[in-house]
C-alpha cells in the first residue's frame, strides 16, 4: 500500500507537488491523471525513491521513501515514460542486468526472462542477439515493462506503459495490469489515454498544478461533475473552456 501525507516538492520557487494526501490500499488499481506539468511524474519519482520530497512523508508498504529508499526500491517496479534502456546491450543482457540488481538467481532469472519473452511474443533469438538500439519502439517498451516486473514487485508504477505498443500488445498489457491488481499488487497507472483509464482503473485521482482535484471511482466522479465520459470530466476539472470552438478557429487560421 501507499501512504502519502502532506507531500510537497519544490523546484526552486516552483511547487510541483503541493501538500498532497493520498492512501492507496494493496490490490487497488489507481489511475493517476493530470495535464502536463500537473505533478504526476514528480509524485511517482518520489514514490520510487528517485527524487527526495521537500516536505511531507511518503510510505510504500510501510517503508519511508526518505529514510529507507533501498527497501522501497526493492519492492516497487517502475515503467518510466521515457522507456530508457542501455541501447548497447541486447534485450536479454539488459534483463539479466536488472535481475542481478534485484539478486534474482541466474537460473530463475533466465526462466523469468523466457516467460516474459513468450508472453510478449519476443522471440528468444531477437532478445539474445539484437542490441536494444535495433529494436522497434514497441519491442523496447516490452523489454522496459519486463524489466519493471521481473523481480515480482508488490507495488508497480506504470507511466504511459502503452507508448509504442501495437493494438494486440496494448491489449495484453492492459489485461496484465488488471490481473496484477487482482493478484494483490498495488498498481498506479498514469496515462493520457483516458478511455483506457476509464475501463481498467478502480479509482481515479486527478492532479492539477500539484494538487489533487478529484479522487474517487468513475461513478463518483460522474456524479460529482454531471458528465458521463472521463474525458469530459477531466476537461471540466482541468481544461480550458470552449476547447472545441477554439480548435476549429485555430485550424481555420492555420489554413488561411
Amino acid at each position: 500500500m501507499i501512504s502519502i501525507r502532506q507531500l510537497t516538492k519544490r523546484f526552486g520557487s516552483q511547487e510541483a507537488v503541493r501538500a498532497i494526501d493520498l492512501e492507496i490500499p494493496a490490490g487497488q488499481l489507481v489511475g493517476l491523471l493530470g495535464p502536463n506539468g500537473a505533478g504526476k511524474s514528480t509524485t511517482i519519482k518520489i514514490l520510487t525513491g528517485m527524487l527526495l520530497p521537500t516536505t511531507g512523508t511518503a510510505h510504500v508498504n510501510g517503508f519511508d521513501v526518505v529514510s529507507q529508499p533501498l527497501e522501497v526500491k526493492k519492492i516497487v517496479g517502475y515503467v518510466p515514460e521515457s522507456g530508457a534502456v542501455f541501447e548497447a546491450l541486447t534485450g536479454w543482457e539488459y534483463l539479466e542486468l536488472v535481475a542481478a540488481l534485484y539478486h534474482i538467481p541466474d537460473e530463475e532469472a533466465q526462466a523469468r526472462i523466457g516467460r516474459f519473452g513468450q508472453f510478449f511474443e519476443l522471440d528468444e533469438e531477437t532478445l539474445r542477439d539484437k542490441h536494444l538500439a535495433a529494436y522497434s519502439k514497441g519491442m523496447r517498451q516490452k523489454v522496459v515493462i519486463t524489466s519493471a516486473l521481473l523481480h515480482n514487485p508488490q507495488v508497480i508504477f506504470f507511466d504511459e506503459p502503452l507508448n509504442g505498443l501495437d493494438a494486440n500488445a496494448a491489449l495484453s498489457v492492459k489485461t496484465l495490469i488488471t490481473s496484477l491488481a487482482r493478484e494483490g499488487k498495488t498498481v498506479v497507472f498514469c496515462s493520457h489515454i483516458l478511455d483506457v483509464v476509464e475501463r481498467i482503473c478502480q479509482r481515479i485521482v486527478i492532479l492539477h498544478e500539484g494538487r489533487i482535484l478529484a479522487d474517487g471511482t468513475l461513478t463518483e466522479l460522474q456524479q460529482r461533475c454531471g458528465e458521463q465520459s472521463l474525458e469530459h470530466i477531466f476537461n471540466q476539472l482541468t481544461g480550458t473552456r470552449n476547447l472545441l470552438a477554439r480548435a476549429e478557429e485555430f485550424a481555420r487560421a492555420l489554413t488561411q
Partner: protein, 541 residues
C-alpha cells in the same frame, strides 16, 4: 531534505557491482555499434582505437629521452608526468559523462542500488579508461626503460604497476573533486561549478606538466633523483615505485615518495567511496530534477541591444544559420553535458601564454605567439566536434524532417557560434597575456596575425568532409570520428606550416608583405571552401 541511506545497506553489494561492471564494459566496447544502429548516421567510429594509436606514437617519441642516459627515476618521472597530464585530462573530460550520465537515471535510479556500489562501478570504469590510455602511452617506454641508467630487467613489470597506480590516482582525484562539489553545491550551482572545476583541473594537469621541464632546467646532469621539489609532485610518487622496483640503488627518498603516493591515493579512495558516496546518490537525484530557469537579468541597455542585433542580423542573414547559431549558443551556455565536455579543453588554448608568464624575466620569444595561434586554430574544429554529439541525439531528427537540401547553413551557424563565443574571447585573452608577458610582447604579437587570419577558413574543413549536423550523435568515450581526426590533423598541419612561414617572414622582415598575400589567398580559399560546403547534398542515411 537529505537522503540518509540505511546503515545495514551501506556495505558494497558485490553481485550488483559485478553486474554493473559487466554492463559498463559492454557499453564502452559497443558504443560505436549502438550509435551506428540507433541513429543510422554515426559512420565509422574508430575513435578510441585511433586515440590509442596516437598515444602509442607519442609514447614512442617520449622514449627517445632514454638516449640522454638518464637514471631510472628521472626517466620514469618524465613518463609519469606525461601520463599524469594526458590521462588526467582524459579522465577529467570523460568523467562528466561517466559519473553523471543523464540517460542512465530512468534506467537505474529506481533500482535498489546503494550509491556506494554505483559510484564504485563508475570509478572502476573510469580507472579502466585511464589505464587503457596510460597503457597505450607507455607501451614503448615500458621496454625502452630497460636502457635507462641503472635499470634492471624487470623494469617493464615495475613500470606497468606504477602506471596503473597513477591511473587509479588520477581517476580517484577526479571522483573526489566531483564528490566534494555535489556535497556542497545545489543543483543550480552544480552545473556551472562542475564545468569550471573541470577547467581548473585541466589547468592543473597542464600546468603541472610544464613544471617538470623548468625544474629539469635547474639541474645540470638531468637528474631529479633526491630533489626535495619532488614531494608535492604526484607523478614523482609513482615514479618512485619504478626506482624501488628495479633501480640498482634505492634510497629512503624513493620509499618516502612511494609511501606518500600510496597514502594520498588511499586517503582519496576512502574519501570518495567511503565518505562521499551518499552525497553522490543525492547528486544523481538532484540531476533528475528539472527546474524552471529564472529569467536572466537584463545587463544591456535597449540601445546597445538594438545595435548589437543589427550587426548580428547582418552577420546571420540566413534564417537557418541564425537558428543553428542560437541552438549551438544555447547548448554551449546551458547544457550541462556540453559544458562538461567543452570547457575543460579550453584551458589548453591559453596555456602557452600562461607558460610565458612563468618566464616573464626573459624577452618574449617567437615561440609563444606562434604556439598560441597554432593551438587556437584547432579550437573551432574541436568545439564543433563537441557540439556534434548529445545524449538527446534523437531530437536531431528535426533536421531529417525539415526540407533541407544541404547541411551548409546549419554548419555555418554552429561555426559562427564557436567563433563568436569561444574563439574571439580566447584570442583576446591570449593576446592580452602575450602583451603583458614582458618586453617585446607587442612585437611578438604580430607573429600571430597570419594564423589569426587563417583560422576562420580552417574552421570550414569539417563542413567539407561531412554533413555537419549538431547534436546528432550519441556521445561515446573517446568518441571522435576518424574524419574528425583527419580534420584535426589537417588543421594542425596547415596551422603549423603557417606558423613556420610566419616565423620565416618575421625573421627575414617581410611579414607585412606576406600578410597581404595571405589575405588574398585566404579569401580565395575561403570562397572555394564555402562553395564546397554549400555544394554538399545532405544525405540522410
Amino acid at each position: 531534505m537529505s537522503a540518509s541511506f540505511p546503515h545495514q545497506a551501506a556495505r558494497l553489494d558485490w553481485v550488483q557491482l559485478r553486474a554493473l561492471l559487466r554492463c559498463y564494459w559492454r557499453l564502452a566496447t559497443r558504443g560505436k555499434l549502438t550509435a551506428a544502429m540507433g541513429r543510422g548516421r554515426a559512420g565509422k567510429q574508430r575513435g578510441l582505437t585511433f586515440v590509442a594509436a596516437m598515444y602509442v606514437l607519442t609514447g614512442l617519441t617520449a622514449s627517445a629521452q632514454v638516449m640522454a642516459h638518464i637514471d631510472v627515476f628521472t626517466f620514469a618521472l618524465v613518463l609519469h608526468s606525461m601520463t599524469f597530464f594526458i590521462v588526467g585530462m582524459a579522465a577529467t573530460s570523460e568523467s562528466g559523462d561517466i559519473l553523471f550520465s543523464p540517460s542512465e537515471s530512468d534506467a537505474l535510479l529506481h533500482r535498489p542500488i546503494h550509491p556506494r556500489t554505483l559510484l564504485l562501478a563508475k570509478w572502476v570504469n573510469l580507472i579502466g579508461l585511464s589505464a587503457f590510455l596510460a597503457g597505450a602511452l607507455n607501451l614503448f617506454p615500458t621496454f625502452f626503460g630497460l636502457a635507462a641508467r641503472g635499470a634492471r630487467w624487470w623494469f617493464p613489470l615495475a613500470h606497468v604497476a606504477s602506471i596503473f597506480l597513477l591511473s587509479v590516482f588520477c581517476s580517484v582525484a577526479v571522483v573526489c573533486t566531483y564528490g566534494l562539489i555535489v556535497r556542497f553545491f545545489d543543483r543550480e550551482k552544480f552545473d556551472n561549478f562542475a564545468a569550471w572545476t573541470q577547467v581548473a583541473m585541466s589547468f592543473l594537469f597542464i600546468g603541472g606538466y610544464q613544471f617538470l621541464p623548468r625544474l629539469m632546467g635547474r639541474f645540470d646532469r638531468l637528474s631529479l633523483d633526491g630533489s626535495p621539489y619532488m614531494f608535492p609532485w604526484p607523478p614523482a610518487w609513482f615514479a618512485a615505485f619504478d626506482a624501488i622496483g628495479c633501480a640498482e640503488t634505492t634510497r629512503y627518498f624513493h620509499w618516502a615518495l612511494a609511501a606518500m603516493g600510496l597514502a594520498v591515493t588511499g586517503a582519496l579512495t576512502y574519501s570518495a567511496v567511503g565518505k562521499l558516496a551518499p552525497s553522490y546518490g543525492e547528486a544523481l537525484a538532484k540531476l533528475g530534477e528539472t527546474r524552471p530557469r529564472p529569467p536572466a537579468p537584463k545587463r544591456t541597455t535597449e540601445r546597445t541591444r538594438r545595435q548589437r542585433n543589427r550587426v548580428m542580423s547582418w552577420w546571420l542573414r540566413d534564417p537557418i544559420e541564425r537558428a543553428s547559431f542560437r541552438l549551438a549558443t544555447a547548448y554551449m551556455r546551458h547544457d550541462r553535458e556540453t559544458k562538461l565536455r567543452l570547457y575543460p579543453s579550453l584551458s589548453s588554448f591559453v596555456i602557452f601564454p600562461i607558460m610565458g608568464l612563468l618566464d616573464r624575466h626573459t624577452e618574449v620569444s617567437a615561440f609563444i605567439p606562434l604556439m598560441t595561434v597554432w593551438t587556437l586554430g584547432t579550437l573551432p574544429v574541436m568545439a564543433m566536434e563537441t557540439l556534434r554529439s548529445s545524449s538527446q541525439a534523437a531530437a536531431a531528427d528535426i533536421f531529417a524532417t525539415a526540407p533541407l537540401e544541404s547541411a551548409a547553413s546549419i554548419f555555418f551557424g554552429v561555426r559562427k557560434a564557436t567563433i563568436f563565443f569561444l574563439l574571439l574571447p580566447a584570442l583576446c585573452v591570449a593576446a592580452a597575456l602575450i602583451m603583458f608577458l614582458g618586453s617585446g610582447g607587442e612585437r611578438a604579437l604580430v607573429l600571430a596575425l597570419p594564423g589569426v587570419v587563417a583560422i576562420p577558413s580552417v574552421s570550414l574543413l569539417p563542413g567539407c568532409l561531412d554533413d555537419y549536423l549538431p547534436l546528432s550523435r550519441l556521445p561515446r568515450i573517446g568518441g571522435q570520428s576518424s574524419k574528425n581526426v583527419v580534420v584535426m590533423f589537417g588543421t594542425m598541419i596547415s596551422m603549423g606550416v603557417l606558423a613556420a612561414l610566419s616565423y620565416l617572414a618575421w625573421k627575414m622582415e617581410f611579414m607585412w608583405a606576406m600578410l597581404a598575400v595571405e589575405i588574398v589567398l585566404v579569401a580565395l580559399v575561403n570562397w572555394l571552401l564555402i562553395r564546397r560546403v554549400r555544394a554538399r547534398r545532405l544525405l540522410w542515411e
